[in-house]
Symmetry: C2
Subunit: 526 residues, 2 copies
């Protein structure tokens, strides 16, 4: 039986607080630096690796982190989770997103069903539907094939699927898997829908309405804007719209939709990219085979995450180092910096995944914790970020830990040699250079040109951003966040912090306000 | 003559350190809260206002902040800047971006020219060029009109213009000003250009190559990828490409381009949206009249920023409150949260503007400062962010100051009443609700549903995001960042922190590496 203790109740954590500081300007220099790069690596799924040579850890600290993993029972807590325990204590729910891509432990029953079978069935239903759209069995009113898919959803129904779509768009174009263009409507701001509707051929478009409860304000409102536009174009909305929802929602078994595919309460929005929420749009855009490859990458990564040895478990090790940086070194934010334009929205997905999971001040039992938990997560792709906020990362007064991601090859394989190197080589040269610039800095008597160094980073390196590599990446971060939640003793699977705003917004719309809330409402002429 | 002192040498700052803490859960409640909303406002250009009722300030703190503004000579330092002093001490340059949209002080001469006349001339040349493209005087090889414009640039040549384009796209569609679609290529990752080139009709496209020096690695490499694609399509690159550069760069007076428009060393990339860098793409996309309206909004905001009274100078007041939050209350990051989908990339622009300007550890004389300077800036549009990282903002262990932006009306003016309110009303209700939820919180015996409140925010409110409103917003933040640089005694106009990475990347590409840098280069197969 696992014991759920606060981080500062663990003796390995107390030990870590006494650890000496690793000076990256020394350990990353010369032969020692070269050896660290070879040794400080952990394997990831789909041939990726996690390289933490430029993190402020050494053999002693790593040993302490392994002891922390053991004492915090990280591996057996994950085991408890994937075997179907009620890990989401706040909402009293199982946490089953891993089952959407594989089975790590025993069969899990819930709602009178084997849940792995349920998720697989939905995936197969989506695959069959997508095939019919692609081969012209399901067509528009005029008998024409659909060319575009628009996902209507917000939060986890938007950020993850959108990031995954962008991540594979160029790869699919190159590999003959670009079957339909995907677009997204999320914001309740009506200008979001207006823009998509103004630039999409409605007659050739399938809309996916994604809402687990079937009651998400933004999504239902946008559905109405879309239906209005379809009607005005003389199109029948029910021939252009499918739903992804729970079996008990008002959207299920509803003749307003061509079909409905299901999710359930055991998969949080931010963990739903491998469920029907990501499955429908990605299978339509790139075909079910590509989506299956993406799931395979994630399943392989989950298996690695189930390993007990942190040194061979990249997600667990990444989590441990992150907690060391947050709670021992006191760094309050982390930048995610993918050197891949395809991952342009991956940081936005991780921002939700991490900050919504672990941005909490009470433990699993609802008791306040007295240590910092989830950091601020932000980021943009390199090399773009280099010409933007890297100034602060290099020479600002705060230290921001960095998470680089890089690939040996690009996706479109269209490149040119300019001034003796390809664009891809320039891209990779930049990420290698940045790691070292951040770690070692550069002394200069002109303090304005001086770089102090000791700015820690890790890098995830892969050969190419394929569907499997993307699944590996996604699962890595999901599991990292889960392990950090275990370390901080948080419930990473609810989000009570989003409720108060919803309640007050309803009050504003009902004109049941006074004081400052009324004053702001008046100012905005609601 | 202005004295350039460090923040902690100022007696008003020492006074602020002794200030009591304002409890937002108290002052924002009841009648007092309502009164604060009415009183804690400062006017901005184009009818916008800056409302800081939910910031942790009171009459005493505001009085101290005004004393700080006086002691730090903020107004006369700005006066020195716009009259042409060498404010960029590192690079020994004038700082003249304000002159691209108006003249606040005396004529400024540099390089043997009146600079206001120079910037106006470039703007007029761009306007004439854009008119010729729009009316069909400048056409493609087949005599067809150009329909698309693609900006090739990175950093300030990308983030600002891209954010401004997206900000006005829907407005322009609604108001008959959507003349050409604009797209952007920035990253040296060849997949960035590949994606744009795969989805653009090259024969109808004008490319704008933007590089002040004419030597930016990413931009020149992407130019080659574009030229290669044009050549392969049987098109003549020189009929499809213009340059925005300095008069002394290799791109000026070069027959490879249809025409060239000029900027100079006195406008940093991140301050260049109102120069030719933003002017060319925005004038082509929406017409020179719309660009002129955008400049007018910025010019009006600059005039307000030149005022001496911080209580009537929103940019100065915002800067002062930000420094109070950073240096007295010790908050290390700030979230920018526009409730407008059109501002989806505005936070990314502000991230560069702020973090590249003030992410520094040495003062204007190159001496290390011993206080925190520029914070981490991040953000996404609301309501999207509510379904993402707001969990941490509400219930995380750190306090993150918030900068909301909201408009009474949307841009496309396509809306529907659903469940008794329009989408726009829902959007506005949400931002009003969030301000109060963050400020006042909500007590709950279930600690998981407890909101501590005391999370400070301000909001900029406008009627609609028009070109003038956008200019007002842009200038507000440029001037805020400038005033904060004055307070921290930084040079906000250089970026030495980006140099080391460039030097090391060149070394990698030349295979002149050893140690860890060689190990990383080998891993990435460069």
């Amino acid at each position: 039986m696992n014991e759920w203790k606060n981080l500062n109740e663990l003796s390995a954590y107390q030990q870590l607080l006494k650890a000496g500081r690793v000076d990256l300007t020394k350990v990353m220099a010369g032969n020692e630096g070269s050896e660290r790069v070879q040794q400080y690596q952990a394997p990831m799924a789909a041939g990726l690796k996690y390289v933490y040579a430029a993190k402020q850890v050494d053999a002693d600290i790593l040993k302490n982190l392994c002891a922390l993993a053991e004492e915090a029972q990280l591996a057996s807590k994950f085991e408890e989770l994937y075997n179907g325990a009620v890990i989401n204590t706040g909402e009293k729910r199982l946490v089953l997103h891993h089952l959407t891509r594989g089975q790590l432990g025993s069969n899990v029953q819930a709602d009178g069903k084997d849940k792995r079978a349920f998720y697989t069935e939905q995936q197969e239903r989506i695959a069959a539907f997508a095939k019919k759209v692609h081969n012209g069995e399901i067509v528009n009113e005029k008998g024409e094939k659909f060319t575009t898919v628009v996902q209507i959803g917000i939060g986890g129904s938007d950020l993850g699927p959108r990031a995954m779509y962008l991540a594979l768009e160029n790869w699919a174009r190159k590999n003959g898997s670009f079957l339909m263009e995907a677009r997204f409507i999320s914001n309740v701001d009506p200008d979001d829908a207006a823009n998509v509707l103004a630039t999409t051929d409605l007659s050739r478009t399938i809309f996916i309405l994604v809402s687990k409860s079937g009651t998400t304000l933004e999504t239902l409102t946008n559905e109405m804007l879309v239906k209005d536009a379809l009607n005005k174009a003389g199109l029948s909305a029910s021939r252009h719209m499918i739903a992804v929802t729970s079996e008990t929602s008002p959207l299920a078994g509803n003749s307003d939709y061509l079909d409905a595919f299901f999710m359930d309460d055991y998969i949080g929005g931010r963990y739903s990219s491998t469920s029907s929420v990501g499955g429908a749009v990605l299978s339509l855009a790139f075909g079910p085979e590509v989506f299956a490859r993406f799931l395979n990458g994630a399943a392989e990564a989950d298996k690695l995450a189930a390993g007990k040895d942190p040194m061979q478990n990249a997600a667990m090790l990444d989590a441990l180092i992150g907690v060391f940086e947050r709670n021992v070194l006191n760094y309050p934010s982390t930048a995610v910096l993918p050197y891949s334009q395809a991952l342009s929205r991956f940081p936005a997905h991780l921002q939700q995944l991490d900050m919504e999971s672990n941005g909490k001040s009470v433990n699993r039992r609802g008791e306040p914790v007295d240590y910092p938990t989830g950091p601020v997560i932000f980021g943009e792709p390199g090399t773009n970020g280099q010409h933007s906020f890297y100034q602060l990362l290099h020479q600002g007064t705060d230290i921001i830990p960095l998470q680089f991601i890089g690939f040996v090859n690009n996706q479109a394989e269209q490149d040119l040699d300019v001034q003796g190197s390809t664009s891809q080589q320039k891209l990779c040269a930049n990420v290698a250079a940045q790691i070292m610039a951040f770690a070692c800095g550069k002394k200069d008597d002109n303090r304005n040109k001086h770089f102090a160094g000791n700015r820690p980073s890790s890098i995830i390196v892969g050969n190419q951003l394929t569907p499997e590599a993307l699944g590996s990446l996604l699962s890595h971060f999901e599991n990292k966040v889960m392990f950090q939640g275990f370390l901080w003793n948080l419930n990473s699977f609810d989000q009570e912090g989003v409720q108060l705003g919803k309640v007050l917004a309803k009050r504003v719309l009902a004109h049941e306000t006074d004081g400052a809330l009324k004053a702001f409402s008046d100012m905005l002429k609601i």
